[in-house]
Every structure is written in C-alpha cells, then in structure tokens.
Amino acid sequence: MAAAERAGMTGTMASHYAEEFARAEGGLVGADSGWFKAARRRALTHFGRIGFPTPKEEEWKYTSVAPIESRSFRLAGHPRNGLDVAELDRLRLIEAHELVFVNGYYSAQLSRLASLPAAVSVAPLSEALPDSLQEHMERQAEQPGNGFAALNAALLSDGVHIRVGSGVTLKTTLHLLFISTAPDGPTASFPRVFIEAGANSRVLIIEHYAGLTPEEYFTDALTEINVGPGATVEHYKWQMEGARGYHIGQMLVHQQRESRVTSYSVSLGAALARDDIAVSLAGEGAGASLNGLYMAKGRQHVDHHTSIDHQQPHTTSAEYYKGVLAGHARGVFDGKVVVREGAQKADAELTNKNLLLSEHAEMDTKPELQIYADDVKCSHGATVGQLDEDALFYLRSRGIEYSQATALLTYAFADDVVARIAIEPMRHAIERHLTAYLPRAALDMELL
C-alpha cells in the first residue's frame, strides 16, 4: 500500500473513531471525571498520530490488521439487544464471582457477585473510579507500541478494578465474562481490567471472551496486573470469540519481589486473534510461568506475542506454548526473553511446539533471547512438524485405524497444556472443544 494511501486510511479510521468518540463520550464511563476525560482525549490524539500497526513493523510482520482497519466498527448503542440469556448461562462457571460485560458494558443484572472479604474490592469502573487508576490510564493512553492501547484508552466503555489487600487469599475464582452480541451491526468493545494484588495475597482470575453472534465485531482489550511482593496471581485467558470476531488483547504484568504469576492463554475462537503479554520481573526472586494453547482451522489467524523482562537477579520464567493448525489457518508466535544487565542468576526457559495438520496451514515462530548478564541460564526451543510417525505406527499396529490414531495423538498433543488448567469446569469445556476440533472422525471417547 502506498504511504500516502495508507496515511489517508489511518486518517479516515482516526476520524471514524473520533466521530464515535464524540457521539458516545457522554455515555462512556468516567464522563464526569476530569482526568479521565483528559486522558481519553490524549489517547484519541495519540491514536490519530500512530494509527493501526502495519506488517512493516517488526512486531506485526506476520499479522495484518487490515480487516479491522477497513471496517467501521461502532460502539454498541443498546448493548443488551439480542442477548440470549440461556446461551449466556452455559458460559457461567459454578462457584465463582461473576462479572458480566455485554458488548463492553457492565451488566449488574447478569453478574453474580457474592459477598467478598473485607480487604477485597471488585467493582466495575462505571461504579467506582478510584484515583489510583489515573496513572495507569495516562500511561496507556500514550503507549508508544501500537494504536490499540490508545484506542482502548480513548473509547473504553467499561472495565473492572480488582484490588486484593495484603495477606488476603481470595478463595473463590473471579470470572470476568465479556460477551459480544453485535446488536446493531459491526460493533466494537474496549474492555479494561485492572488487577492489584497486595503483598502476600492470592487470587485466581479468569478473563473469558465469548461471541454469541455470527456477525462481525471487534474486541480491543487491555489488562494490567500489578503483583505485590510475595503475592501469587493465577490468570486464565479464555478466548472463544465468534467465528467472525476480531480480538486484540494486551496484558501487562508488573511483578514485585518474590511474587508469582501463572498465566494460561487459551485461544480457540475469532477470525483474527492477537495476544500480547508483557511481563516485567521487576523485583528480586519474582517468577512467571506462561502457558498457552492455540488451535485454529478454516481461515483463522492466531498470533501470540510474549515478552518477559528479567530486570532483577534471581528471577525465573518458564514459558510453554503449543499450537495446532488445520485448514488454511495461520499461527504466529513470538516469544521474547530479555535479561537485563545485573539480573544475575536469572533462569529462563521457553518452549513453543506446533503441529501442522493440513497442507495449507502455516506457522511462523520466533523465539528470541536478549541477554545482557553472564551468570544466567536461558534456553529456548521451537518446533514445527507433524505427528510422530513411530507413535502413529505403534497405535496402528494395535489395530487403531489411521484417523483415530491421528485424532488421539493430536488430542494428546494439545491436552498437554489443557491438563495443566486447575479449574475443572474450564478444563472440561476446553477438552470438549478439543474433541470437536479434531479432524475427520471425531475421537472415540472410549480411547481416552
């Protein structure tokens, strides 16, 4: 695309979202907060300046967001139009605090928030907008990387702020459910999640994105997690957007001394999905474990970019991502590990394994190490390939037919990650999805 033409396009997109902004500003969260409005405006200006990323940028080399750029998504006017409550109920998890957002807007009616311990607060931004968020809002408004964070800051319709006080263990899972129904044609939603885990606290959160519509829509989500000293956060991202949904998600994690974060990212839906996870191990002894599974078929495009920044000594990270690609699907993985000067005794390990099931599927992977310290242990590995022929032969020699054997091994490949998921209902749901995903003859469940 010619530069001038591109600039023109970014221009029209910027003005399209500026119009959306002008139309909806009064109804958006924080309309009566001065600093919030100012941050939104700045974000909008920033977006106008940088626009959407292009494949010319290294971080977007393999992923074109042209489909998002070429459509004029609107903010949903009547978010709850056309919502099938029965379908929604199927997405609920038992024994969890549930916050439900429909097309980016919080619905108190659909949410289930039982009483919480005293030092824990969980509230949608539309109900409480603590001043402590100001700094975050302002920072993300002008994030240099790409336009999506700025667009989210400019147009965020609602979000949630979670604070867990020092030393508190929140036993019940927090389930954040973001539903898209595309009530009035192609809509966009901009959810925002803030999580603050106090010193030595413990919390488990599921971010769940689901599309209940065959229509096109766009989700641009941003999550920030601040983990206090000694705190433990388990975060699950469960992406089940609709077949014509576009999902761009960004998660920024900041970890203090001796804190632990375990992240699971399961990407199953959306026509185009891009997930960015950036973890700063900013305190000595902090550790992060990132796990991921993506499965795509048809013409799906799924992209994961992770970056782990070891800033202090004795920090550890372990990353394990697996992908299965069928049909014309295309997968992208970019895992970056940085060890800063002085971050001695850092230990980092990264693995990305991919399975290509069809001749039109494609995988681009790039594990990356940048090391500026000497007393470290870092390794990464990446593979792209097919099922193990010996394993196939073994199964077939025992009378299991080819399609069954393939299905079984594919299932085992993916279940390697799924089995690590501690939340039972979520694990079962994903395993069901896995079974349905498998090619040709569905897997004979008795074999499992």
């Binding site: 290509l356 001749e359 500026y372 470290v376 590995g381 990446a382």
Partner: protein, 482 residues
Amino acid sequence: MATHPYEVEALIGKEYAAGFYTDLEADTLPPGLDEEVIRHISSKKNEPEWLCEWRLSAYRHWLTQKEPRWATVVHPPIDYQGISYYSAPKTKKDGPKSLDEVDPKLLETYEKLGIPLHERAILAGVAVDAVFDSVSVATTFKERLAEAGVIFCSFSEAVRNHPDLVRRYLGSVVPAGDNFFAALNSAVFTDGSFCYVPKGVRCPMELSTYFRINAANTGQFERTLIIADEGSHVSYLEGCTAPMRDENQLHAAVVELVALDNARIKYSTVQNWYPGDENGKGGIYNFVTKRGECRGHNSKISWTQIETGSAITWKYPSCVLRGDNSSGEFYSVALTNHYQQADTGTKMVHLGRNTRSTIISKGISAGRGRNAYRGLVRIAKSAANARNYTQCDSLLMSDRCAAHTFPYIEVKNPSARVEHEATTSKISEDQLFYCRQRGIAAEDAINMIVNGFCKEVFKELPMEFAVEAQKLLSVSLAGAVG
C-alpha cells in the same frame, strides 16, 4: 568468578598480531562515488559494456536504498562519499607472470602473516589467489588446476577470459539490488575470485584466497563467484587479516555460490579483520552478503565460518535449496571481545522437496562484546518433507557483554520438520574447578572449555584452518574471563 588480574593485563592487552602497514605506491581514485567513478573503475579494468551497465544499474538502485537498521549493531554514520573506490598496487605493464615479478614488498607482507606463498602452497597443496587490496597480484598452481579443467582466477581475469560464464552467473544468486551493501558492491567491486569447476570434476586441491585491506581509506569490495557444475566437488578457504589502523574501514563483499546437480561446495572462512582496540576505537566494518544456491538436485552447500575479527560483523551466509534433495549447512563460531559487535547467522530457504538443512551456531561474548544470532528457516509450500535442525548456543564471559538470538521460523508445508534449540550460559564453576583440581591452569582450562564448546564447528574446517582457528580463539579470548 575469581579474577586473574595478571592474566587479564598480560593477555587481554595482547596486540593485534597482524597489525602492520605496507607502504606501497597505490594508484588511487580520490574519495567519492558517482557514475563517473563507476565508469572509471570499469574502463580501468577494460570491462565489456554490459558489465559497466550492470554496475550502473546497481548504483542507481543503491541510490534508492537505505542502509539497513534492523541489526543490533551501532556505529556512527558511514560517509560513502569519503571512501576511495579504487586503489591498485603499481605493477608492471602486463601484470606479474610469476612470483619473481611480484612486488617484493607485497611478498614481505605475506611473509609476516605467515603465508609463504611458494613454500606453503607446495607443502599444503593449496593454490593461493592472493588479493592485495583490490587487484590480484599472484596466482599459483594454475597449471595443475587447468589440467583438471578448473578455472580459478581473479575476477577481472574471468571477465576477460570467460565472459560468458561470468555473464551467465553474476548476480544470479545475489541480485545487484539485493540489499544496500550488495548493491554498493555490485556498483563498485574492483576484483575478487572466480572459480568454475566443470562437470564431474573433483577439484584436486583446496582453493584459498587471502584477503587483506591495506591502503588507507580504501573500502574493499570483493566479489567472489563459485560455480560447481554437475557432479563436481570443490572446497574453498578464505582467510582474512588486516593491518592495524584507527579509521574504520568498510568491507562490503559479495560471495555467490552456485551448485548444479549433484555438486558440492564447501566454503570455509576464518575472519580476523582488525577488531579495533580495547576501547572500541577503529576496526573494520564487515558488511558481507554471502549466499549459495543449490540449483540442482542432490546438491550441497556448506558454510563454515570462524568470526573473531572486525569491529562490526554483519553477515548471513545463506542457502537457497532449490533443487530436490539438496542440502545446506551452516557452522559458525562468532567471538566478540572488547567493543566488538557481531550480528550474524544464516538463512535456509527450502524450496525443493526433501531438502535438508543444519545450522550450528556458537556465539562467544566477552568484554563488552555484543553477539547476535539472526537466522531464518523458511519452508515453502513446495518443500515437501523438508527438514531443519538448528542449534545456537551462546557463551557469556563477562557481566557487560550481550548475547542475542533472533531465529525466524516460517513453515508453510505440513510435512516439514523444523527444530530450533538455543541455550545461553557461562562457563560453569564446576567445569573450571574440575580442570583446576587436576592441575590445569585457569587460562588453559578456559581455552579447553571454549574449544570444546566450538568443537562441532571446528571439526567442519579443513585441517590447516582448524589449527589456525583454535589458535585464533585462544588469542582473542586470552584473559577475557576474570
């Protein structure tokens, strides 16, 4: 880790052994680059019209290109107009016909470097096409090669005597406008080596060329073209040293390899250009484009490189595996000490069926050195049953150095099998302790461990080079661990 100050002082400060400067009267163009300069180079070399045109089109393409910025190297901007693009040692009218006719000062230079052209050539069975600055001055063993039908000569000679071959293959692997530095080279290259091995011939000896940069402010723009015709074998050795001087010198070479059906090319490099002093002052900028194409089926190209010199190394010897069942190999040891920077790696582009590639890269960073492996493995849709194995290991020897790994893996065929592994670590205390408690001095122990780390690559080198490479490594690293 314990420090050994006496060793550090004694050995880190070791002077660049090949640092001297031969005073030769050079026929040098004033600095600057425009179409006139290119025409001048072309006419000086009595080149045919098509080659002059080819240079000019490369130059015009170069004008539209920008210097690449993606590598993790930093250097002050290069003034391309401040470089003199032609310099030739004064020779007698028709060039030397034997060693006796060669400028004795030149021969002296090679003596100092330990390359006694006549003796060593006979003893080691190596034909040396010595390149001094930009023009070939001595070529040996022509007759023996000619008997086998191998054409091995300077590039200008090839243009004169084998214009059809040159015209057919020049730029067919690295197009004139391939990248910024390749375009520059295509426009202004002054000489280099040319080798053609005819059908079914196994080259009777290892071919080698020694490159040296000499006259001040003269960028070297070498061009190497090697063609291995059907069923032939050739092993080519390239070694570099450069005299010590303070100004950064640009070296932008292009190497093209073509392997036809069942042919094999082995290309080995020991690169020891002047790396700059311990404060990062001076040193060579080595921006090289090397690429081989396995054009025929069952062909094989193997790159082996030992990179210990240059202030900046920017080089990615690559293989385009076009022929079915062809294979590519890349073995590399890159060492950066003091303020040296290296951004090196390879590209393996699999196009044919059953193509295989192996990448073994060993990076060693010491002092404030920066070392990056940057590689691409691309399996095209047509490359059924392609196979790649990549291993890149980094060894860190100081707390101020850096080691990076940037592997790109692109797979478009499901029958491909691609594996990539990388590790980064330092020499473990345990290994050192084990050696020392058996009475091995720390310095020797480190050399031993480092040599062990690089063994997989060294064993790919021809014998003479393997010895030189090990020596080079211990000299470059001496005292770096403290």
